[in-house]
């Protein structure tokens, strides 16, 4: 886990390090003198070599949770992040929850009715939603429900109603991905002998589906759900700018246009760390839903992407 975090921070730091354009010039403006630029550079520690700057950055970030200051407002990035991150996590969490609530039953219906119109309609719908830019869908929802029907607020999250459109627009893509994965993993196990056995002993069809088919196909579904958490956090950045939600997204998008690099760097790092923690959680969930996983890990055999994440942690 810790090597991954260090690696992520090194990667993000390196990408930002090679960004052309002198931050001192960005801060002071084009009319600044050579001396004041040199002085600002020294104050910000920008004249030090790469290695020293990186060590200083991660030292501050991980030991004192100090991600530097915004070039423009001078406010601490960590303080802003602490206020804004909960909004982003709440949005992403709600969206992933809805993706699962919609995606798994939809995929199950498709799998149990393989090659019928129900299957085809569900799968075409899933592919359609996967082919849509999420922010476009968000704008279309705003147009229909907020502007034409005046049912929901256009922006803001003063009431729970404000969460409806952002969460729907973010969750359709995830739900579609989960539905597709659910269908294919259920189809893998649907013809296994133990399913026939379960039916032969007179087990209720509902329990055959949930207890035998779905249970055994759950691993790839959980992995897809975990991975879509990453997509959700990316999607939250976009949704926040559309719906004016004061989360990480609106903070970072603003910073990108002003080239406020400490904010972009800190934001990317914090979200990447959250994502790594979630993937660790996914591994724990996997071991919980399927005891076979532990045996798989101990034999150190790479099987599926589940092992990959475990190895990373």
């Amino acid at each position: 886990m810790i090597p991954v975090l260090l690696g992520v921070s090194l990667l993000v730091f390196t990408i930002m390090y090679f960004t052309p354009g002198d931050p001192a010039v960005i801060i002071l403006g084009p009319s600044a003198t050579q001396e004041s630029i040199a002085q600002t550079k020294h104050e910000l520690g920008l004249d030090k070599p790469f290695g020293e700057r990186y060590l200083e950055y991660i030292g501050n970030a991980f030991l004192r949770f100090d991600l530097g200051k915004s070039y423009f407002t001078g406010r601490s990035v960590s303080d802003e992040v602490l206020v804004r991150l909960p909004y982003t996590l709440k949005l992403a969490g709600l969206a992933i929850l809805w993706s699962i609530i919609i995606g798994i039953p939809a995929g199950a219906i498709a799998a149990m009715n393989q090659n019928t119109w129900k299957d085809n309609a569900t799968m075409f719908g899933a592919l359609f939603f996967l082919s849509m830019p999420a922010f476009w869908f968000a704008l279309v929802l705003v147009m229909i429900f907020s502007i034409n029907l005046r049912l929901l607020p256009v922006v803001g999250i003063e009431s729970w109603k404000g969460y409806i459109l952002p969460v729907i627009s973010m969750s359709v893509g995830g739900a579609a991905g989960i539905a597709r994965q659910t269908r294919s993993s259920m189809l893998e196990v649907i013809r296994q002998d133990y399913v026939t056995t379960a039916r032969a002993k007179g087990q209720k069809e509902r329990l055959v589906i949930t207890g035998h088919i779905l249970r055994n196909g759950l691993i790839p579904i959980v992995v897809v759900a975990g991975n879509s958490m990453g997509t959700m956090m990316g999607g939250a950045l976009i949704a926040e700018t559309i719906f004016s939600i004061p989360g990480m997204g609106s903070y970072m998008v603003n910073a990108i246009s002003k080239r406020d690099y400490p904010v972009v760097q800190g934001g990317v790092l914090v979200i990447a760390i959250c994502f790594s923690l979630i993937m660790l959680l996914v591994d724990i969930v996997l071991a919980f839903v399927d005891p076979r996983i532990r045996a798989q890990f101990s034999s150190k055999k790479k099987k599926g992407s589940a092992a990959k994440w475990k190895a990373a942690a």
Partner: protein, 292 residues
């Protein structure tokens, strides 16, 4: 001797392709996707001939015009013909899809070959690197790279290509690991074939099926990713007619002129859906378990 071997190999390859093609043809949705993609390519190539106006041609006396005979889909906030801009936008979207996936495939394949073919420490090191790489959400990595490279369509293409390469690296690695100890690789070694030749001729062809599926599916995803970058101001810059940038420009007029965001969105859904339908069809057609 050499040429007869090549011919035999080609004859076999040909028959494999025809098997896949026969199975793909049965899938009506995949065929529909293929036809739409072909149409999009034609539209992109002949855009200047088809489009009634130039994509940057402004008519400030005729802004936000409703659909009419002169402007079939109306005009935008600067009086530019919406239909012409959509037609020219096909070029950008296909460019984004094809080039970013090409970058990702080349980078990913190179890494995958090193990891899968040589194995050992190189493999462990590269796989750790990919683990780290993939613990940054894709869109976020593209945003960071595009910020670093600066705004612009070409930089967005590079950013998306670089940030999606890990998928290909893993695919190539997995299939090379499978064939590494096969007898025909050993045979190739025995006739003193160079590593490059072994990889290109004997090892990589095994990875083509999964690679092809990922490429097709990712073209659509790259188009979507580029539109997101455009949306936060890192993609195509005005006056380039790119669907994502058109959507972004249109969102300011959402209350009064919703059509400005409806049309580019529909164009994008149609093209991405076509690539995804084709990718799904290819996956089914290339599945060896279904071979009959």
């Amino acid at each position: 001797m050499e040429s007869s071997g090549v011919m035999a190999a080609e004859a076999k390859k040909e028959s494999n392709i025809s098997i896949v093609w026969r199975r793909l043809r049965k899938n009506k949705l995949a065929v529909a996707g293929l036809i739409i993609i072909a149409l999009l390519v034609l539209i992109a190539i002949f855009a200047p001939l088809i489009a009634p106006y130039d994509y940057a041609e402004q008519d400030l006396t005729n802004t936000f015009a409703p659909p009419s005979r002169e402007h079939l889909l109306g005009t935008d906030d600067l009086g530019r013909d919406e239909l012409s801009r959509l037609i020219y936008g096909t070029r950008q979207s296909l460019q984004i899809g094809v080039f970013s996936v090409a970058i990702a495939t080349v980078l990913g394949t190179t890494l995958g070959v090193f990891a899968g073919f040589y194995g050992g420490k190189v493999d462990i090191l590269l796989m750790r690197f990919l683990d780290i790489y993939q613990s940054i959400p894709g869109l976020l990595l593209s945003i960071a790279l595009a910020t670093s490279l600066g705004p612009g369509l070409n930089n967005a293409i590079i950013a998306i290509g670089v940030s999606t390469m890990s998928v290909y690296a893993r695919i190539i690695r997995a299939s090379l690991l499978k064939v590494r100890s096969m007898e025909y690789i050993e045979a190739a070694r025995a006739i003193n074939a160079t590593d490059f030749r072994i990889v290109m001729k004997y090892a990589l062809p095994n990875a083509i099926a999964p690679l092809l599926i990922s490429i097709t599916m990712n073209i659509g995803n790259s188009i979507l990713a580029a539109s997101m970058l455009s949306f936060i101001g890192l993609g195509a810059q005005p006056p380039v007619a790119e669907w994502g940038a058109m959507l972004t420009a249109g969102k300011d007029f959402i209350r009064t002129h919703g059509s400005l965001i409806t049309y580019p969105g529909i164009a994008m859904v149609i093209s991405v859906l076509s690539f995804n339908l084709l990718g799904d069809g290819l996956r089914d057609a290339l599945d060896p378990r279904l071979k009959n």
